[in-house]
Symmetry: C2
Subunit: 185 residues, 2 copies
DNA sequence: ATCTTGATTTAACACCGTTAAGGAGTCAAG
DNA sequence: CTTGACTCCTTAACGGTGTTAAATCAAGAT
């Protein structure tokens, strides 16, 4: 009658524990052993559920990215602006989020074409053709990720922070980028 | 009679060896021990010249950034465009250059204000006020660094590369950003 | 009862960054 | 000539890392 007991671990529990450890200790201290300890398990057990640390970091990065996916907007300019703001918030919402996303390589889904379609979809629905959608979304992603890295850089932040309003400058850059796409060439 | 023998090591030789090792082995394999071995020296010797691995990475990142500093341009739009292109080339010119710059924290000079002045100078000379210069340069730096990370991301590259021209899209994004700054609000 | 499979443990390997202690050489002062 | 200080490097070691191999243990299937 007793069905096979639910395994103690799965991918989701791994990433949850990894995020918890990240929040507490930061990315430099984030190790397989510490994640395992948090789950009351020995480190090699993790390798049953995940190929290696790279894959775990990839899953985490994917979660950060995907939590910025849902944007409500009336035109593609609004969508890109909302997406940029959401992504920045998502990156800032996890300790070392930007550094994590810079280091990680989220695994590409099996079907490249379908993935690209999904990524372009919200902008295509607002009137852009697929290649333009991909290109502009890549630009906003890059700008935002770069900004988050820039902003999270301790020394840089200290020595620019006195004379630069990061929030205002991000908004200015994002607005310039999005509006710049509409400028006739 | 023999004068004090020139020390075998100095900071510059360290970074040179580190860049060589980076080019050969990639950032994941770049270790103090391997850099030391390349210099025919034991690892702890490096710590006489450098506070730790972080500082070494910081020196490397500073070198990458600074090699994009010299830009000739007639107006601030031209300067920002040239700077973006140069920075992208510099990042692409070193294996894992983008990941390195994302992970490293270049040491801020002692005097923050003077540093900011130096960074803003070329744009101030072309007519921007200092705060605007800092803000726009930060935007271009962020966009370019983010793009380089994006582009260097293996899986992402593979699955977007078929339908996205990275060179053209970078140029489009950079142009949009720079032109967007000139759009009246 | 035996076998198979899933999920974990123990033990170990080959590294890593970093520190402590010390030694060899060169210089200046006594 | 000796002494001491200073520079620069070595050897040894500590505590940690990601990862693999092999053994183990529980549960369902035959």
């Amino acid at each position: 009658m007793a069905t096979r007991p639910a395994p103690a671990l799965d991918r989701e529990r791994l990433t949850t524990a990894a995020f918890a450890e990240l929040a507490e200790a930061g990315i430099d201290k984030l190790s397989m052993r510490r994640v395992a300890a948090r789950l009351d398990v020995q480190a090699p057990a993790l390798y049953w559920h995940v190929a290696g640390k790279d894959e775990l970091l990839g899953l985490m990065a994917a979660e950060i990215y995907s939590s910025a996916e849902a944007v409500a907007a009336a035109d593609w300019q609004g969508w890109l602006t909302g997406f940029g703001r959401g992504l920045r918030a998502s990156l800032a919402g996890h300790r070392d989020g930007a550094r994590l996303c810079a280091a990680a390589r989220p695994k590409a889904g099996a079907d490249a074409a379908r993935n690209a379609e999904r990524i372009a979809a919200p902008l295509v629905a607002l009137g852009l053709d697929r290649d333009t959608a991909l290109s502009r979304r890549a630009s906003v992603t890059s700008f935002t990720l770069g900004w988050a890295i820039f902003e999270a850089n301790g020394p840089m932040h200290d020595f620019l922070g006195q004379m630069l309003d990061f929030d205002a400058s991000f908004e200015a850059g994002l607005a310039a980028l999005v509006q710049g796409f509409a400028v006739p060439r």
